[in-house]
């Protein structure tokens, strides 16, 4: 941004906000979720996050050196991409896949477009889509999902280091595929019948279920996002209308809305990915349209799609539409009246 000379009439309001500060605040707010992932998935979660962050930072620095532009890794945005990407993978995925995904996210989705502020898509989600397209087995197979090791006492009798099992949404998908006609409000008990013993709403809320390492704990992510909202860094409209939309759509279709809100990556997506300042719309109205679109596509992919989870793809899909949303939701200028058509 150094190249731009901003000329405007006074008086000016000075703000202490800067990209660096905001990014570090967001990184800080992800610490509870990181702690919960460590608590449930063990040291593996920290290791994968570190691999991802280091890969993202090194890639960004190397490309910026190569382009002979100022190296801006200290602004924390590459670190954020790294953390979010790692939060999006199962715990037992080979580490080099995470490294490559992180490289792709920074190199293709961010630096090819000119770096922070110019990317069209959320880099971490492009990294996830890339990994899902390239290594579908590693990203989705039950072998790589881990059941939480530690627990609040809900799961007794687990003495092994890790037990791999399908995620709750995976079980629901399998159940739906086996019998597509069943539309039950009590999908959770169906999942329980399928061998997922002990998962209650409380387990889903605190994160005591299998899933991607950073997505399972709704509680930790909620703490983080409330912290960001108090600082005024997150527009509450996107998470509110996104989660509200998922509630309404799943309820209208006859599924269990609470389950669909708590399960999968909705919290991570709605709180951290969809609210990304660069890739979400500018105006409040645009943000509401954006969030409702997200909810629609998420539910559509979860219910009818080929994947159990639709959060990441729905955010990417709506990212494509953000320039159009911005164009058609330009706020009315103060004092402007509609020009009268001259006949």
């Amino acid at each position: 941004m150094d190249k731009m000379l901003i000329v405007s009439a006074n008086p000016h309001i000075r703000s202490k906000a800067s990209v660096t500060k905001i990014m570090h605040m967001v990184n800080l707010s992800l610490l509870p979720a990181l702690f919960m992932s460590y608590y449930y998935f063990g040291f593996r979660a920290i290791f994968l996050t570190l691999v991802s962050v280091v890969s993202a930072v090194v890639t960004e620095a190397a490309i910026q050196k190569f382009r002979k532009v100022p190296v801006t890794v200290s602004d924390g945005s590459a670190i954020l991409t790294g953390i979010l990407l790692a939060f999006n993978v199962p715990a037992y995925i080979p580490w080099w896949i995470v490294m490559l995904g992180s490289f792709f996210a920074i190199a293709i989705a961010k630096q090819a477009f000119g770096g922070l502020g110019f990317n069209i898509f959320n880099p971490a989600l492009i990294g996830r889509a890339f990994m899902l397209a390239s290594w579908p087995v590693e990203m989705t197979s039950n072998k790589f999902w881990a059941n939480p090791v530690a627990s609040f006492g809900a799961k007794t009798g687990q003495t092994m280091d890790a037990i791999s099992s399908a995620t709750p949404l995976n079980l629901v998908k399998t159940a739906l595929k086996a019998d597509p006609t069943q539309i039950t409000c009590d999908i959770l008990s169906k999942a329980n019948d399928a061998g997922y013993a002990g998962a209650t709403y409380w387990d889903l809320f605190v994160g005591n279920v299998s899933g991607c390492i950073g997505e399972t704990s709704f509680l930790a992510l909620l703490i983080g996002v409330i912290f960001l909202m108090i600082l005024g860094l997150v527009n509450w409209r996107v998470p509110f209308f996104y989660i509200g939309g998922v509630f309404v759509f799943t309820w209208l279709l006859g599924y269990d809305p609470v389950f669909h809100i708590l399960a999968g990556g909705l919290a991570l997506g709605a709180f951290y990915m969809a609210t990304d300042m660069v890739t979400s719309p500018i105006s409040n109205k645009g943000n509401i349209i954006f969030a409702i679109g997200l909810a629609f596509f998420t539910v559509a992919i979860r219910i009818w799609g080929g994947y159990p989870e639709g959060v990441s793809y729905s955010i990417l899909l709506m990212n494509c539409a953000v320039p159009l949303i911005n164009k058609f939701t330009v706020p009315k200028k103060f004092g402007c009246v509609k020009p009268v058509k001259a006949n």
């Binding site: 477009f113 110019f118 080929g306 729905s314």
Partner: protein, 201 residues
């Protein structure tokens, strides 16, 4: 007439098998005419028009000429010839009788005439089968052409919006122009992967 078939066709050709982002047909107008939203919309309208028309005509040609006289091996050349000449004829007719519409479609109409996406929709209409082995009927073919055009228009508009935004981006010198457009297109296609395997029946 099964209404659910029409819904399946619409969702399939707009989202799941989007002509540009799922089947990778019609890439040249997609890259070529996506610089501005206005021209993208014009191109989209022309594509909807030509695809619908092509579906109607090729269905009739296939059913009443090629199959009847056992000339299916002439399918490709017959379709190209018929679509191109028909669109040219309509263009002349519009120029004379509907100058406003002709102006708004402008240069896009002849551009799209022999595009692979148009030939693609014609041939896919003939080849597509339902689960029970039956083929698309006349209304389903026409509807498929129309919705495929809408899917193309949506892809084109998304691309145009992104490219208008990229005008202001600090893109590396070697990436400017077509390269970043191709990268954007591939990333949009990756986002559309989310629809793969979707079944609404």
């Amino acid at each position: 007439m099964d209404f659910s078939h029409l819904v399946v066709i619409a969702v399939s050709s707009i989202f799941i098998n989007n002509f540009v982002l799922g089947r990778f047909l019609g890439i040249c107008p997609f890259i070529g005419v996506s610089k501005k939203i206005d021209s993208a919309l014009g191109m989209g309208m022309a594509v909807i028009f030509v695809m619908t028309l092509a579906s109607v005509v090729t269905y009739l040609i296939q059913t009443f000429v090629l199959v009847r006289f056992e000339l299916q091996y002439l399918q490709t050349i017959a379709f190209i010839l018929v679509i191109a000449s028909l669109v040219q004829f309509i263009e002349m007719f519009m120029k004379k009788n509907m100058p406003a519409l002709y102006q708004s479609l402008g240069v896009f109409l002849p551009l799209i005439t022999t595009n692979c996406a148009v030939l693609g929709v014609a041939i896919l209409n003939i080849d597509a089968t339902w689960a029970d082995g039956s083929h698309y009927n006349f209304i389903e073919s026409t509807w498929n052409g129309f919705t495929a055009g809408i899917g193309f228009t949506i892809a084109l508009l998304l691309m145009a919006g992104i490219r208008e935004r990229l005008e202001l981006a600090d893109i590396p010198e070697s990436m400017k122009g077509t390269p970043i457009t191709f990268i954007s297109a591939s990333l949009i296609a990756m986002a559309f992967l989310g629809f793969s395997g979707m079944s609404i029946m």
